[in-house]
Symmetry: D3
């Protein structure tokens, strides 16, 4: 327990595609119900989910206990959100709406201790959770994923990928689709969006970084994994509830 090594890096070192669960409900019991499924990583969503900083303190131990890597999507690229999530013990950060190399630099430097970055020292919970070995290994183990979900991000992709310390990119298909005029939604099938996703993936792979995609259904996720995506998120706790409830009521009420 006293080591800090990020399970995601092991998955990628083995050449596997990580399957990532998504936590939008800020409750310990729903996180435990998710955690039993054996995800490679679990992401607490502080942007479009409903957890807040305080919830990290109770959700992160649950994720750690399951053996999954713990990720946090911060609400926006700001130093306070990023550093507090890491101090709480997040093993990686997904940063939304990265549009330029400058955004990415601000993001990555907030995740890394000097001299690589300017993260402030004080890993209150991370040190308790991972031991004295945390701080020396943090810069090596923490995963930094920049969300690519705007026209500007696509245009600036190569510059973004050159930011030292960036682990990879995370494609937000809903905003990306909207940015290119196709409306929101996951599991895109529009040729233009599919091409964009493949372009981002290939460019990222060429740069030696990982590429991740937010998906809705396991079949779609399997397909993109087969095509080389390094991490796929599938659905979320809130969507499992909604889908389970709707299917159940519908199945009960169907006319024989």
């Amino acid at each position: 327990m006293a080591h800090f090594s990020n399970p995601l890096r092991k998955v990628w070192a083995e050449g596997r595609t990580a399957v990532n669960g998504w936590l939008a409900v800020p409750s310990v019991i729903s996180a435990e119900a998710m955690a039993v499924a054996g995800w490679d990583s679990l992401t607490i969503d502080l942007q479009h989910g409903t957890a807040d900083y305080s919830d990290l303190l109770s959700l992160l131990p649950v994720i750690e206990k399951s053996g999954a890597a713990s990720m946090v999507r911060v609400p926006w690229v700001d130093e306070a959100s990023i550093m507090r999530a890491l101090d709480a013990g997040a093993m990686g950060i997904i940063a939304p709406m990265i549009e330029t190399a400058a955004d990415a630099e601000r993001f990555v430097s907030s995740c890394l201790y000097p001299p690589e970055g300017r993260r402030s020292s004080g890993p209150i919970r991370a040190r308790l959770a991972f031991g004295a070995g945390y701080q020396p290994s943090a810069n090596r183990e923490i995963v930094t994923l920049a969300m690519i979900e705007t026209r500007s991000a696509v245009d600036e992709l190569e510059a973004i990928l050159k930011v030292p310390g960036l682990t990879g990119v995370y494609i937000g298909p809903s905003d990306l689709g909207s940015a290119f005029g196709h409306g929101p939604g996951f599991d895109r099938s529009e040729p233009e969006v599919l091409e964009l996703i493949e372009h981002i993936r290939r460019t990222t792979a060429d740069a030696g970084l990982v590429c991740c995609l937010h998906c809705g259904a396991p079949d779609y996720a399997r397909d993109v994994a087969a095509r080389g995506m390094n991490l796929v998120t599938i659905s979320s706790d809130a969507r499992f509830i909604e889908a389970g409830a709707m299917e159940t009521v519908k199945a009960f009420r169907r006319t024989a």
Copy 2:
């Protein structure tokens, strides 16, 4: 909005079987994800769920907004739990482990204002939620369901059913099965347990009261509904998460 009329009573007046959702997660957002499915009633479980009194204040408005009846399963038959849940606006109470007519009388009298019972006056949230008409109509609209889940309860069933003001019984198949030596579990198929359930249902129907059953799957629930059960609970929010997560990870990882 200013009326207090219990939607469950309307379902039963129409001769329909109510389909009840089960809330074990003490979170507003998971309750909203459940509430969109169109359940006839939603029960907040304070016994084997993880909500506590304080959670009622935020969960009950979500249930009311959905149009479903709001039920609370209290952790045990005690005056404080029952009266506080009702003051918070619960439209009905499910009381666990009712074993005798005396238990049932203590339960029902805690739910009803004098002279029918001894509920203390002070419906802090119920009055705000349902208006000045709440208190005069409360005794008529509140639903009281006694759980039948022990040998003693089965033995005492007729006496329990005679307690004035009792709306009906709620069968807990897991404890009932255990009590008769068959171990825990929902959706029982052991002939002895099935017979017990049918015995309870028929005896309750003969007494002119409603009979409810906790179920795991919609097909099982449809069957018991077809045989005259008045309310069926199906699964829960926590189980929808767990099942959704396990199926998703399994589907993603299956070998082609």
Copy 3:
């Protein structure tokens, strides 16, 4: 700050009628807004209010800071609720639905350390808040008020008043009125209820104990104070909001 002396006892020693504020909203900021008004005591209502045990920890410091005595109405007469409220630092307890001398004895003995009672030792917050002097003076300073609000309580009044250690009684006019067939409500004017209240007050005074009454409006409270009531509660935080909001919207919308 290191002394534990109950401000209510000083008010009564001076022969004044205490004016008590009522906290139904479990929020620090609403308690602070109440506390500036200069009440002699403030009561956190765990029965018909919406605070729960956890809220005591943040509300009690606010009351103490204001100089008022801190009281807690427990949800029911049970050892856990009473002892935990006292350990959290409540200077007195109001116990609902006391119907017999046995109820009162159970209540009072839960409030007092041995040999006078059977309160368990471990005043976690009380010792921090009031210092090492707390435990030796607790039995002398803590105020115990038994609610008189049923026919049985009226019948048993003299026996209840003889319970050693009881400080006095607290009349719940809404339940008392209901018990005698007049329906719920504060500031009663029915001759029978007025007579009952006066009977309870006089019998209590004759026994050398204090008598308290829950009121709705300051004028009514002034009248009963003038007739010898030792403590009057007036309205509550939730009612101040409701009344303020309704009067404001009405005043704005009135036709000129």
Copy 4:
């Protein structure tokens, strides 16, 4: 319930002045006590109130249930606060300290989906609360109010009013008065401040946008409504408690 139409827009379409309630207390029960009064809208104040993001999840359902429009004043103009409040279901945003057209553009573009703005897609609670129709109608229904409360804002008013998508302005009389050397306070009577308020209102009306004012008392609010103000806030939940408590204690203690 599955529609997303902002009640405030209906009030304004009918040519009425909306009366807005102000929530500074982060408690469900105080919000319910406010909500019964029939306000046209209720604003949760995250700037000078004490609610935080997490409180939105439980307060917004209460406001929706009442039929009022739900507004949130964010603590500052930042993307995270604005987008999270909207995702939680806020029907409109009041943004403090707008000083330039650039501030207003940043504010408005954070409230609107592409192509009008750059709000990120993921309305976690808004979709559950308002249905699938939410996202297509959000840009049309969401209300965006820029606070005018500094010298710079007054100087830049016409440029601010030209920002596409801005619904109107909200005058903060306390900061505005301070900025012009008159100290803090509501319901201003200084001729210079009155003239400023009328100047802002008239300029805003000329631009075809709505003008709103924070008020303390209903009479003052009636006057400004009569002069054409489109929305008036009156007092707050915390002030109703404070005023109610102080008047009550004073009334009780007044010498006859």
Copy 5:
């Protein structure tokens, strides 16, 4: 992680004295700061501590992660408190104020599934935390400790020890000292109290059960461990803060 085996039973099987930490602060971060010290078990105190049921959900995962056994002291012997703590995943229960064999029977039967007891089935978090193996092994692994802290308990000790399923006793020296006229306090040195403690320990050992003692300082705990005590609690999180703070300020301010 999918096994349910109680680490305390392993300690005792090895003939060691368990050292137990005490959690009075209901915070995840303080629990993590405690958990790194390597206690054999950690007890969340719901009686004289300040945690409440809801806190169990976030504190228990932290304890499990540390490898320590998780214990809960319930506020009083009632079915709801006991069963809810176990459903949340507590590996053992300490029950205060056991005075008779009947009390002990009520306590133990609430901890065990039928046919040994009458615990209701529904281990919501325990099943998620410990897997499908939880329920079959629960009766064997759960630890039940009856507090001996009154004259009656001492008188009834042999009968209490005969209750089937009881794991042992937990001596509360503060209440026990008070009961015998010596005032509250830990680490007793009065000959009468020492003799009582030794009498309880020896009687319990003779009955083949474990005996536990609440201590204040490690030296005292070492002594009683050497004399055969099976578990010793030492101090608490709240006392570590208080002592650390007082020593620090004193050390800083001491005159050279």
Copy 6:
């Protein structure tokens, strides 16, 4: 209670070195356990601690009740965090990572009302806690401390110290040490770091401002106090727990 005067200013006026306690645990009871020790000030750490805005509402009354000055370290220099902490009643702000005079100006102007700064008016809790006298005296009493912990801050120190309204600087030795290549840690002994600290202290003193240092142990703090430091922080609540627990378990388990 109705005055707002900052106890820290009195300590400094008397020429004493203030001893400051550090709150990293967001719990009322741990704050009470800290507060009894008699610190001159207590700082709630929103940067590397685990409290969040909402916790301020319950922690600040506890600090005020103790007589200590209440300080808040904000997570980053942003208007929302600073103004909300002050509105909640913080008597002073510690701002991390001040690197330039522009940073310091932004920080200080967020703390002061016009015309000295641009703090927005609305001290919701501060007015309730300190009375009507709060707002007129706030600019005079509030303490503003800029953290000096980077190379840039050291280079810009004289410019930073010239920012009108700045009370002084707070040295973060861990980040400062890292910035100069010595790794994280408190109570530095590297000659270069010691010289830097002395340089900062002397330059600050020459500018007539106060200089503060974060320390780990009382002896180190005494030394720096003797050399003229105006405020020393020593350890934290979380570290008292961790150290107390580790020493206790170690002492118990030491071989005789």
